[in-house]
Subunit: 513 residues, 2 copies
């Protein structure tokens, strides 16, 4: 009779341990507050040269504001030399205008515990943005749908190290282009309680984003606070189109934050050298941020730099390369001298699969992002194939790695407990620390813990099917989605949001362009 | 008649392009000379505390020199307090003795172009050391043999970014324990012309290593120069065994370099805190390096720190973690204050496969190694499964990534060409840089180039079989081994080396313990 009892006992203990290991927590870590220095590759002299050259670019060459007569008029009034669509800025003008932009700002989440402060020594992590395709083990690579989108929002909501729900976590190609922003915002607002991004694909869609936020947060709250951070790309080199500028105008007018970001594949949209690229990046963000301040002085903005290197053989963008790192480190120095929050880096890779190449490239990028002083890291998880694909497995793989950034940023304590002299005395030469008092008191918080990676003995790992990282990640995706619980929302707000989306959709025919 | 000619033309062109792409180069890059700063996580105050605590550890607790009466006598003469095998060092004594160790040294290779300078702002990269198993796609995981060993030496010889042939690139378990060092050294000496490491598994095997070097380099040359850098592990915590110290004595006496290195899984062989671990690491290396200088003042040494974190659930060592990074950065600061070359980091991972986990962990470790100011990086490629396995595929994967460290370390030029103002003027707003004069003049050297990773368009990649990184690496392993050509050697020396090995082997029975 003893045998079955013991077996039950074992089974019960095992189940309890499994339950503990797999207990669902939807805890979200606070955004990273760095307690480590920034890594700086440029000397003061180099920074001076780049800043002077950027001013020369703005004055001599200028930038284009395309199909946007009102913008040209604003520039003229501000003292720029406007010829056709070319805007040339006298030295110092852009930098002077940028001075009204805040050095940091709070983006409020509907759950106040998840609001983020962007700037200073902080780092806010947001997921991948923009891919038209998704990939997972079962379905392979395919066009993204709204159902995929919702899954990514749920995964983001349940990812401890992700502070931000992001924006276009994938492009829901099964919804009309002129309506999908409504479904996307609705998903971020209702399936998560983390901060999110607004639509930038047309000025009126930016306006819809503001109006939906007014329902979610209240009209007064939105006018007095920042509740969205949205991505405004510059058409590098040095061109600002009416769609992006139209969206920026809506957001700035409403005190909503914008990342003003060159999008550069080095050697194609910028010079093939690091210093030349940094010069162009700085000129572009100076012009773009200055323009945001012409719309509304004090509107919150982030200096962005999306810069990759290029494979000169194929023309493909390349990621995790030393040149991308140099630019990311250097742009961080420029942003700090400008006194503005800085966006760069991400889980970048060129690989088609979430394999070793993807992870090498991603780790190179994530580490450089932390050390470069990035304040807002878009694409921090889930990016695959040069940004063409949002990968379900890579999303949870990268999100797990984001925990290492939190750990690194904490820095090193040298308080009495950390000095551990009593432990060294207790253990002595030839001993071991596993059982000593200091280890017992500290082991729970001593080390970063993965939710994903395999540390099992070889034999156990083999018996369990020799799973690689993607297989483990696939299991974790399913586990998270199976255990997802929607955060609660005031029913009146939920109804109003759903009503807004339904009415807007009904007000216009579908358009797929 | 035109058609066949054109086809021939195409074929020839394609073949020529393929030949260029796959042309074998056995070029070896010069060791890295950093033109970027070191990343430092500890304040001066924290460093002072750790240094003071390490002196307290040496004075109050001391270290054990086990089964080594001559060492105890040397310590007594040097002014230490010796009780039994416990050696306590008055404050300042170890540091004073360490002062005679050189801040940098040259390790000569038989090909003088491949000699390396260890120390200063340099970084010398050497392959994985010690695994009893090997793994590749075809054969899976299996005990390593001498044939595997020779393949790794050949791959190391052909790896551009690897400066050093290493030591026990895998443990050749098919050769008797008391004879395998002879075969290993013979392989390094004859199959490569890069610098290498000597045997440390017994003092007499260290002596054999010296004697084989005397054949290879000439007796006088060896006495006047350093031709080996060998790995002396400390039995942390604070214990120095007779085998390792016996090997150290042989090498120091012969002016050959030794890495004096704690081997620590944090929480087991050192306190569970970063500051406590750094204190113990410093105390241990101070004692070990001081001892090397008692043997021969001026003998070249490297301050080593092999430190990993631990998974407190399973007791498994963990790699690429933030805590390991903190220790690696901190130990670099301590080494620089001590004025000694520094060994740490590597292609560390706990993963059983060369998958994404392996690459995340490895990239975290490699990047931190570069930024921490490491001067000698053992294990820089090929490490798998916590060091139990040398992986053929991961060897070439990591070796390719080592190129990114070379690129990063170059730093950023701001000379007139790098400023690229003419390019920005030439292209202007809305243009593109691919064809501009500056790009044409600079693109060949502008970006780091992989020899392995995939940058192809999705369609091409799919048509070619959707290969992941391991599949590409497997092809590269075969390609390199198929194209390996042994570097030439003076026939007299080759004969003498072979004779030495044969005589030594014949002089004693096989022993497998």
């Amino acid at each position: 009779m003893a045998e079955p009892a013991r077996r039950r006992g074992r089974g019960g203990g095992g189940a309890a341990r499994r339950a503990e290991r797999t207990a669902i927590s939807i805890e979200t870590a606070k955004y990273i507050e760095r307690n480590i220095p920034n890594f700086e590759v440029l000397t003061e002299e180099a920074l001076d040269i780049i800043e002077a050259n950027a001013e020369t670019v703005l004055e001599e060459i200028g930038v284009n504001f395309v199909d946007n007569p009102a913008a040209l008029e604003r520039w003229r009034e501000a003292g720029a030399d406007v010829q056709g669509e070319r805007v040339r800025l006298p030295k110092g003008l852009a930098r002077k205008l940028c001075a009204t932009a805040p050095s940091q700002y709070t983006q409020h989440a509907r759950n106040p515990e998840k609001s983020v402060v962007v700037g200073g020594r902080n780092l806010v992590l947001a997921p991948v943005y923009g891919p038209p395709f998704v990939r997972d083990i079962e379905g392979g690579r395919r066009y993204a749908t709204m159902e995929d989108f919702r899954k990514f929002v749920k995964l983001g909501y349940m990812s401890k190290w992700l502070h931000h729900s992001g924006g276009t976590v994938c492009e829901p190609t099964d919804v009309a282009v002129n309506k999908r922003h409504l479904d996307m915002l609705h998903a971020h607002m209702t399936l998560s309680d983390k901060p999110f991004m607004g639509s930038v694909t047309a000025p009126e869609r930016a306006q819809d984003s503001v109006e939906m936020c007014e329902i979610l947060f209240g009209k007064d709250f939105v006018q007095e606070n920042t509740v969205m951070t949205s991505l405004i790309n510059i058409n590098s080199p040095m061109q600002f189109d009416d769609v992006m500028m139209g969206a920026l105008e809506v957001y700035a007018k409403n005190n909503q934050a914008a990342i003003i970001s060159p999008f550069i594949v080095g050697g194609a949209m910028a010079p093939v050298s690091v210093a030349g690229t940094l010069t162009q990046v700085l000129a572009e963000v100076l012009a773009g941020i200055a323009y945001s301040q012409l719309i509304r002085p004090g509107a919150p903005v982030i200096m962005g730099a999306f810069v990759t290197s290029i494979d000169m053989g194929s023309g493909a963008p390349t990621f995790g390369t030393p040149e991308a790192a140099h630019i990311t480190y250097g742009a961080g120095q420029l942003a700090r001298r400008l006194g503005l929050p800085y966006r760069s880096a991400g889980s970048f890779c060129g690989s088609k699969l979430p394999d070793a190449q993807a992870a090498y490239e991603t780790s190179n990028s994530l580490n450089m992002g932390l050390l470069a002083g990035v304040n807002f890291m878009l694409h921090s998880c889930g990016w695959l194939e040069g940004g063409l694909v949002s990968s379900f497995e890579k999303f949870v793989m990268d999100a797990d790695q984001l925990g290492t950034l939190h750990g690194l940023a904490k820095g090193v304590s040298v308080d009495e407990n950390a000095q551990a002299m009593d432990a060294i005395r207790e253990v002595g030469p030839g001993g071991h620390y596993l059982g000593c008092a200091h280890t017992q008191a500290n082991f729970k918080d001593a080390f970063w813990k993965t939710d994903l990676l395999d540390y099992k003995p070889f034999e156990t790992w083999s018996e369990e099917g020799s799973k690689d990282t993607v297989a483990l990640a696939s299991e974790r995706v399913k586990f998270l989605l199976d255990n997802y619980k929607q955060p609660s929302m005031d029913p009146g707000i939920a109804e109003a949001l759903a009503g807004y989306v339904a009415n807007k959709k009904a007000s216009m025919p579908d358009s797929f362009t």
